[in-house]
Amino acid sequence: MASVATKSRDFHRLSPVWNVVFNLIAGLFSLACVFPFLFVTILSFTDEKTLKRDGYSLFPKKWSVDAYDYIFKAGDQLLRSYGVTIFVTVVGTALSLVFISLFAYAISRKGFKYRTFFSFFAFFTMLFNGGLVPTYIVTTKLLHLQNSVWALVLPLTVNAFYIMIMRTFFSTMIPDAIIESGKIDGAGEFGIFFRLIVPLALPGLATIALFSTLGYWNDWFNALLYIEDPSIVPLQAMLMRIENSMQFILQNTNNPSLGVGVLQSMPQDTSRMAMVVLATGPIVLAYPFFQRYFIQGLTVGAVKE
């Protein structure tokens, strides 16, 4: 942390008053953002009947761990899902970084003859898409990815939005002189990219890595489409499955066919909250850890100057 502190030592530091104001703004807003999480956690430890009678309350009259009991009954399924999510997130993020940064770097180069074409080529996919069914067909019939973890990794690997952000980072943060000096030293394009550009672009890369990590961690839709084998269902998909099914059954409570029995076998509100805690808890706890590298990456990038 010391390096960060010295690094940001300014002659014209923010005046103490403004510093307090800034702290207040950021602090209050982040409190407003964290609050629901605390709330979810409290709710997940609330007694189900109490929740139904009193509604959401910060100080429930009766506490309970039934919700977690219910989920841990599923046993190894939960652990396996953690494994799948972590694998998909790590491998996916690594792949995305490579694909995205290479593409973005190339189209950020003014000397690249086809940069307009490829920029447009990427951008166009942000607006137009073929819809669900055609995508499903390509993924299953052409690439044969159904029931494979790669169906969770590949569809999210590239993202034109990230490419556009990354391209902007490259073109604003990297002086042309560096590329020229690399060329003079006789380095090839790939050599320049990996040895000179990547260290300078770390803030951008860290941002993309972060987004990509979150994207993979939160993804459930690809699992809905492509995964039927319960042993490779990721965490969020498990959570969303329960959420969607609750929603669906609640909407059909008056349907005589569905009957009361089905509703009863559904997890309760508190279990859903517990699922949220279990599914997001790890990444929230891991986030400061990520962030340390994020910040370190940033300072390294800055020191390189």
Binding site: E48, K49, K52, R53, K73, Q77, Y114, F117, L132, V133, Y136, I137, T140, K141, L142, L143, H144, L224, L225, E228, P230, R241, I242, E243, N244, S245, M246, Q247, F248, I249, L250, Q251, N252, T253, N254, N255, P256, S257, L258, G259, V260, G261, V262, L263, Q264, S265
Partner: protein
Amino acid sequence: MSSTRKKLSLGLTSVLAVSLVLSACGSNNASKNTESGNAGGNGAPVELSWYTIGTPQKDVDKVMQEVSKYTKDKLGVTVKMTMIDWGDYNQKMQVLTASGASMDIMFTASWAFDYVQNARKGAFAPIDDLLDKYGQGIKQVLDPAFLEGSKVDGKNYGVPANKELPAQEVWRFNKNILDENKLSMDGVRSLESLEPLLKTIKQNDPNIIPLQVDKTFMPYTPYDYLIEKFPLAVKLDDKDYKVVNILETPEMKQGLETMHKYYAAGYLPTEAATLESSTDIQATGQWFADKATTQPFANNVWSTSYGYPVVSTPQSDALIYNLSVMGSMQAISANSKHKEKAMEFLNLLNTDPVLRNMVDSGIEGTHFKKIDATHMENLPESKNYDMPTFSLGNVLLTYLNPGDPDNKWEEFKKYNDAGKPAILLGFNFDPSKVSSEIAAVQNAKEAFWAPLMTGTVDPDQYLPKAIEKMKAAGLDKIMAEAQSQLDAWRAANNK
């Protein structure tokens, strides 16, 4: 170099890349195909792939192995069941069907992977001939109304599960509160007849909700709807089969006025119009009356599941609607390569108690044990195989649980025999010619529907508005189309 040429060359490069990808995948494809081709040919058992609704259970594969052993001997088929969770079923089946995935049997209903809609779009194979050839057992077991009511444009596309057939609306009462206030449900039938009871409850205990309604509530009117929750309907005793806008009928107007009166008097939940379901209030028991659809022994089921006694009294006759016969069905995919075998399997599923109970409760000795010829008891392992019974074929074949009355299924049969067909049984409106009008009317309708039905807004003011908005969105055109389809159906069926 000209820019067109540049574009052209780039186009060529990408075409090349695509064809590379395609050819790589194509070869893969070919090898797969021959494999599966061999498996079918050599007299080896046919594997039926069966998609059904419900939370995926851990032991499905294990149970299906046992099922396959049984069906291999009897029919020469094995079964692979894939369960798709409730909330995902519609979307997943939509994608699977639209992409032409190979499936054999799939669950369908009026409320999940819409039966009529998808039958018309060609998702299911017509089964009339198959039923005659391989499904005689099904025809014997089912009340004819099931197959009659599930005809789409004159053809059957699914095997309905044998279960309660007519639908009857009842008023339910929380018995403890009924008794505490010394009230009786005798003489209660219409919405209006509830009033004195609700008034008493409101006076005696302000913490209890006198009449629990949520956004799905609709006052009962003696009409048969053309599409679920869509305002077009025909009066149950109308000899002319005239299609009307339900909001313009005197019965509905009266119902809505009463609801609004109740709302103003505080008999209904304040936020009824956005209340998704009544489950919260049911769990706490803070309600006095509500509306539900009944079936034999429903009071017992409700009482055990809520944990307090519930009683009920009818508010309508028991009639067989299209919706009630389409509550749970199994259809054969139009893409299935084993349609005959699939029908043989469905026939066995609906007639053979051993198979039906194995599919429903799992492996005997592992998931359940039999007590006598008709009763069973769940074993602890059944938590790994907890299936929604109603969705898997003939319910009347399933073994009874310890708490069930011995005459349960006889009562179901009696109840089914007593049901009379509603006026539109067997007629299914085809919306494809007016689908853009329906989309517009649907939006206009939804803005007013729940607030009106739950009495939240004053019908004197909002009913004319709603009618006008729906007319502007094209309701009349839909109505005319519906009328002409209905007239054609009447002519064809001598109604």
